[in-house]
């Protein structure tokens, strides 16, 4: 399986976990919003999503990634807006490392 496909699988697994935990129905789609007015997650939900994704990526690729980083603080990156952008960001970071 290609890196991108593994990442997508991980993201969908975390989405499923959040749906079960929070009794919400986030779509397993790359268009799904993580942060912003169209997201179904509140701030605690986003942080739990981030922690789960970082842990799963580390387990799978042995790569430590901080998703909520300085780029995010300075609004220089929209990698947390949708699953598609997050997938692209993770793929790039994993290939770089």
């Amino acid at each position: 399986m290609k890196t991108e496909q593994v990442i997508e699988k991980i993201l969908y697994e975390v989405i499923e976990e959040k749906n079960n935990e929070l009794d919400i129905s986030m779509e397993k789609s790359l268009e799904t919003c993580i942060i912003g007015p169209d997201s179904q997650l509140d701030s605690l939900g986003v942080l739990s999503f981030v922690v789960e994704v970082e842990r799963a990526i580390e387990d799978e690729f042995q790569v430590e990634i901080s998703l909520i980083n300085e780029e995010f603080l300075n609004s220089n990156s929209n990698h947390m807006s949708t699953l598609k952008n997050l997938k692209l960001f993770l793929t790039k970071k994993i290939i770089e490392k």
């Binding site: 935990e21 179904q40 509140d42 605690l44 986003v46 942080l47 981030v50 901080s66």
Partner: protein, 335 residues
């Protein structure tokens, strides 16, 4: 050299457990919220009890057991965002209640979770200038009064408390080694109570709570916290500051015996440990028992760490506080 001589704290009597919050908000999964935030209970001041009241009790406790006479206290710094009055400052009222000498230089600082470190930095300056030798640093807040009962992103986290720390200008070779304080004012809206001050006074509308898309309620007199924004700030700015203070004093992470961070929430504490590659055993946590108590959280944690045997004489300790402003500070000291 600035040295921490003694710490006391006081928690209000009302214990609020997760079960109690769950009963008030039937849609909240308290087991899950406890797993995420690390908080199992917190303490709330009663309706007519203020941060100053809590600080007075903590100060009386401290003054009873310290080895110096209260006449030798020459400065009182009161850090709070829960003042009794717009004026005078809490420090003046507390000064009167404690019957301190007129020679005491008393003033307030208006900071939240970074307030203990900023207070130490100010105290250090006063000592170096020869203005004061024995300083009471009070950190007290009743943040519970600012959070909406139906906003799970803040209600679960915060508790009320007061701590009092006696800082002394000591001649021994232990104490404060270095301290750094920083501010990012462009991010001030990430942690804010919008109405109630001079800019946006309270109005008939500002107290009307509105439900957001996630089912949380909040009005403009409540604390708003951009939790994800704060998390990114801690992950980036705070970790950088910690690395800087260590490197400029030729220490490594492994050299530190105990890390005492502001007890924001479990996400933040675990993220700091992970990003800085700190042995989790060296990161002190007491958030489960009292929640996030704003600027009092670090001194309370230091006192608890000492009581638990986790903080010993001679230990190299790193404390870091971060919050509203945004502001953050880190200090390194030998206990």
């Amino acid at each position: 050299m600035l040295n921490i001589n003694a710490i006391e704290y006081h928690l209000p009597e009302n214990i609020i457990t997760n079960q109690m919050l769950g009963k008030l908000n039937s849609t909240w999964d308290m087991e899950l919220l406890e797993k995420w935030t690390g908080v199992s209970k917190r303490y709330y001041a009663s309706d007519n009890q203020t941060a100053l009241d809590l600080a007075f009790i903590a100060s009386e406790k401290l003054l009873k057991h310290i080895q110096i006479s209260s006449e030798k206290i020459d400065s009182l710094i009161f850090c709070t965002q829960s003042n009794d009055y717009i004026m005078p400052p809490n420090s003046a009222v507390l000064h009167g209640l404690l019957g301190l000498s007129e020679a005491v230089f008393a003033f307030d600082i208006n900071l939240a979770c970074s307030g203990f470190i900023n207070g130490i930095s100010i105290a250090n300056g006063l000592m170096k200038a020869g203005t004061a030798k024995n300083i009471l640093l009070v950190n007290a807040d009743t943040i519970s009064k600012y959070v909406n009962d139906k906003d799970r992103s803040t209600k679960v986290l915060f508790g009320d408390a007061a701590s009092v720390t006696l800082l002394e200008d000591s001649k021994n070779d232990k104490g404060l080694i270095d301290i750094l304080c920083s501010t990012s004012g462009v991010n001030y809206k990430k942690l804010i109570i919008p109405n109630g001050g001079a800019r946006n006074p309270k109005t008939d509308k500002s107290c009307i709570s509105i439900e957001d898309k996630n089912g949380n309620f909040r009005n403009d007199e409540n604390l708003f916290m951009d939790g994800v924004g704060i998390f990114s700030f801690v992950n980036s700015k705070v970790t950088k500051q910690i690395k800087l203070i260590l490197s400029r004093n030729n220490f490594n992470i492994e050299d530190i015996d105990l890390f005492v961070f502001h007890q924001a929430n479990k996400f933040v504490l675990e993220s700091l440990a992970k990003l800085l590659k700190i042995d989790p055993q060296k990161v002190f946590m007491n958030i489960d028992k009292i929640g996030n108590t704003s600027s009092a959280s670090i001194p309370i944690a230091l006192k608890d760490a000492k009581s638990d045997g986790r903080l010993k004489k001679g230990d190299l300790v790193l404390c870091s506080g971060f919050g509203a402003g945004l502001s953050w500070g880190t200090c390194l000291f030998q206990y």
